[in-house]
């Protein structure tokens, strides 16, 4: 038995390292869990991208669940995500609000004219403060906010059809059951 002990130790170390490799591959190492899940969405009042005389605030969205998608014309991954939003945005059954984050409004409008506009409303967060309040660190990010104004789900990075099917739709479905 004592002869086997070093071998056993070796096997243990190999198992530990293999687990490390497996964990690294199956998880996004840059992912940081948001402390805002199940907390009230932060207050914001931001001008609309297409009509800066009007604004939208957290209060305006109370009473119905909605989706917030943080994007920017400077953001390369947002371009990858864009066709997915174009395809699924209207099918999810909730208002999709775009937050144009740290972006020049004119460039954003050109970007949207070129690729299409999947959003119901777009708010412009030019200096990025509202984004910081939402804990945004890597656009695109998508938030699901319920009728009470609570953040229920967050996805960092681009939405894919797989993530919409396996995460976003179930999260929306859960909200539906709660409604009286």
């Amino acid at each position: 038995m004592s002869r086997l002990l070093p071998l056993l130790g070796f096997v243990l170390i190999v198992a530990l390292l293999a687990f490390g490799i497996h964990w690294n591959r199956s998880h996004d190492m840059n992912w940081v869990p948001s402390p805002l899940i199940d907390k009230p969405a932060p207050e914001f009042t931001l001008p609309l991208l297409y009509d800066s005389t009007k604004s939208l605030s957290r209060k305006d969205m109370l009473g119905k669940p909605w989706l917030l998608n943080v994007f920017g014309s400077w953001c390369v991954t947002c371009q990858d995500e864009h066709p997915v939003l174009m395809a699924y945005g209207k099918k999810l059954g909730l208002p999709l609000i775009g937050m144009d984050w740290k972006d020049d409004p004119d460039t954003a409008k050109r970007w949207l004219a070129q690729f299409g506009n999947p959003y119901d409303t777009i708010i412009a967060d030019e200096n990025g403060k509202a984004g910081i309040d939402f804990g945004v660190y890597g656009a695109p990010e998508t938030y699901l906010v319920d009728a009470q104004g609570t953040i229920r789900y967050k996805h960092i990075g681009n939405l894919t059809p797989e993530i919409i099917a396996s995460e976003l739709k179930p999260a929306i479905g859960k909200l539906g059951k709660e409604r009286p």
């Binding site: 940081v32 402390p35 805002l36 990025g128 403060k129």
Partner: protein, 141 residues
């Protein structure tokens, strides 16, 4: 000679601490030192192996400005840290606080150490009990 001057110049350049540059209007040196100290304890979320002081990421610039503005409005270091933690998780702190979620992180190494010490103690005790007979030549590892 030229080469020597060059090498000295390069070495001297290395002495200056590298701060990401965006000039902020500090009112005195004390405030600047406090700012540098604080931003060194905070992680940049975009390039996660850099602190907020060193990162050139756009978001880091915004967060530095935010930290600066909060300092101006008289917030304490703890309040500023709390502001960031409530948005970005404990992960922004290089020195994670002790709470239920971080017990394993803080005490895991000691548990492993205790386990190792236990194994060692057991082996040593077994050896000291073993009869001091002639050494088995096969048992040479």
């Amino acid at each position: 000679m030229k080469r020597v001057v060059m090498i000295v110049a390069i070495l001297l350049a290395g002495l200056h601490p590298a701060f990401a540059i965006d000039p902020l209007p500090f009112k005195d040196r004390v405030e600047e030192v406090r700012f540098q100290n604080l931003t060194r304890q905070l992680r940049c979320l975009v390039c996660q192996n850099q602190d907020l002081a060193d990162s050139d990421a756009d978001l880091a610039k915004d967060l530095r400005r935010q930290v600066f503005e909060m300092m101006q409005s008289g917030k304490t270091d703890d309040q500023i840290k709390q502001y960031l933690v409530s948005r970005y998780n404990d992960f922004v702190l290089y020195d994670p606080p002790l709470h239920a979620g971080t017990w394993l992180l803080w005490f895991g190494p000691f548990v492993l150490l205790a386990f190792g010490a236990g194994v060692l103690w057991k082996i040593l005790r077994r050896r000291s009990r073993a009869p001091l007979g002639p050494v088995d030549s096969e048992e040479d590892w």
